[in-house]
Symmetry: C2
Subunit: 301 residues, 2 copies
């Protein structure tokens, strides 16, 4: 069955999910009294009030597509957003990307200090795993353990953090296209793919449907990154809410430096189309996911 | 049933467990090719080749006491040691305790650099959770999920990381005894208590035995910290393998500054005795755990 013209408005679905994810994170990071309250302040500062919630939206949409309980799906979505927030807090640190600005606001170590930013990132990672294995996420303990396992594989040394190391080591020297692909597959791709897959794990679907979602998530993640490189070289800081043109300035190999602007745009479109094709066995309920594949390559920030 | 005179040699049991835990960590952190190999290098540097393995030993001994599979127990022990290693790597960073020396060797950010140290700590935390939820740890998914949940509770914002924040915020000002107790209960106590409890979770024992082990682990952890304060104010850097007298120099409130050397020694002994009492319903198989309660207050490093 081929996808019909999207009947749902992606904007409405995104906006509804964003607001629900925000409330869920708010409830999952309650303030505490005492000297450690600054830690919760920093965790909430890093995790709330901004962001596209692309990863959380993917988790919720896939879970909903497969009939999972929405409240449980929102917990999984909140978890992946906390994991993502931890990675941004640590990436922005002076010894890493040294970025003072995040989503148009002071990054966490500028708003608080370096020590609190490191610890807030650490505790956000812990909380992401904790939420997944809490009984409220699923009555099925295999599902809880599998969600945590898949998150660890996507975010650890063989995933996001491994990609960040390759990125740091690659700065200032030219990388060939296959290494740039691998870098991004790890650094940003793995967590985006996991976000989609998490909805399928939560709904405990068969291997075939899970594989289709993984294929979708993988291509969507790469399309997102290629589009990000295009944006970084064409958009303004105001549009991005963060420093623009940084990759070029630091001598990083990007999809744009390797393929040119037009080549990178074509690559993003090709990946986006293939992501849509991976959903061909699903009905109209997957239309928001299809529209998302267009959105990630057409967005301006 | 009261404890007989220890029939097993704690030294032998510790030495055997240390070597098994070391091999297990070695196998669980395999090297990889590529630019990310430096990350695995740093993770292995931080996690292997040193340390008392107090936490890992607790996990193994309690699991063995309750008849759990030793290979599974060693995985849980390795996990808690990786979690502990991550906390040391981040604690030593310039923006935190700024310590150049750890176990007599350059700390991870001195041996590598700050960015790699932050990322190695991050990935060690992830790996600690990953190991717990991998099927090899237990065929029972509830056990796997519960191990991860208990570790998250012990190490996150309401445990170890929360305690580290209170510690940072308390530097240079006098804290009353109850706040020093709470600080250490969170910063070091929670993970030591978890280490003991993890063996009981792995063996899936009844609530009564789990509660006895938790009581033991809690008192042992506090006794360990009080003894640490005594050591910090009396031992040399050579004996400790790290900078000595740091707490006093930084104006931190410690058990020694609040109770005096003799008062702190008496407190450590009282807690150690109470930890032994918590094991009164267990037979001679718990003798190594009893001897450990003596060891933590009598050690010289």
């Amino acid at each position: 069955m081929n996808a019909p013209t999207p009947s749902v408005s992606l904007k409405d679905a995104l906006s509804r999910a964003c607001s629900e994810i925000e409330s869920t994170i708010d409830a999952l990071l309650p303030m505490v009294p005492g000297d450690e309250s600054v830690l919760l302040d920093a965790m909430r500062y890093a995790a709330l009030g901004g962001g596209k919630r692309l990863r959380g939206f993917l988790a919720v949409e896939v879970a909903t597509l497969f009939g999972a309980d929405r409240e449980a799906a929102l917990r999984v979505a909140a978890s992946v957003e906390l994991l993502h927030a931890y990675s941004l807090v640590h990436d922005d640190l002076p010894s890493m990307d040294d970025d003072d600005l995040r989503r148009g606001q002071p990054s966490t170590h500028k708003q608080f200090d370096e020590a609190i930013a490191i610890l807030a990132g650490d505790a956000l990672q812990t909380r992401a795993f904790e939420i997944l294995v809490e009984p409220e996420t699923s009555t099925n303990p295999t599902v809880r353990a599998n969600l945590a396992l898949a998150l660890a594989q996507a975010s650890g040394s063989a995933g996001m953090v491994g990609g960040q190391v390759i990125d740091i080591r690659g700065e200032g020297r030219a990388l060939p296209l296959d290494q740039v692909r691998r870098l991004h597959a790890l650094k940003t791709g793995a967590l985006i793919r996991y976000a989609a897959e998490s909805g399928a794990i939560l709904a405990d679907v068969d291997d075939e449907r899970r594989a289709a979602i993984v294929a979708y998530g993988r291509d969507l993640g790469t399309a997102f990154q290629v589009a990000d490189d295009v944006l970084d070289s064409t958009a303004t800081a105001e549009e991005l809410g963060k420093t623009a043109g940084k990759d070029e300035a630091s001598g990083k190999s990007t999809y744009v430096s390797l393929l040119g602007i037009d080549g990178a745009r074509a690559e993003a479109r090709r990946l986006s189309d293939r992501a849509r094709e991976a959903l061909s066995s699903f009905g109209a309920q997957a239309d928001a996911l299809r529209a998302l594949a267009d959105y990630v390559v057409e967005r301006r920030n």
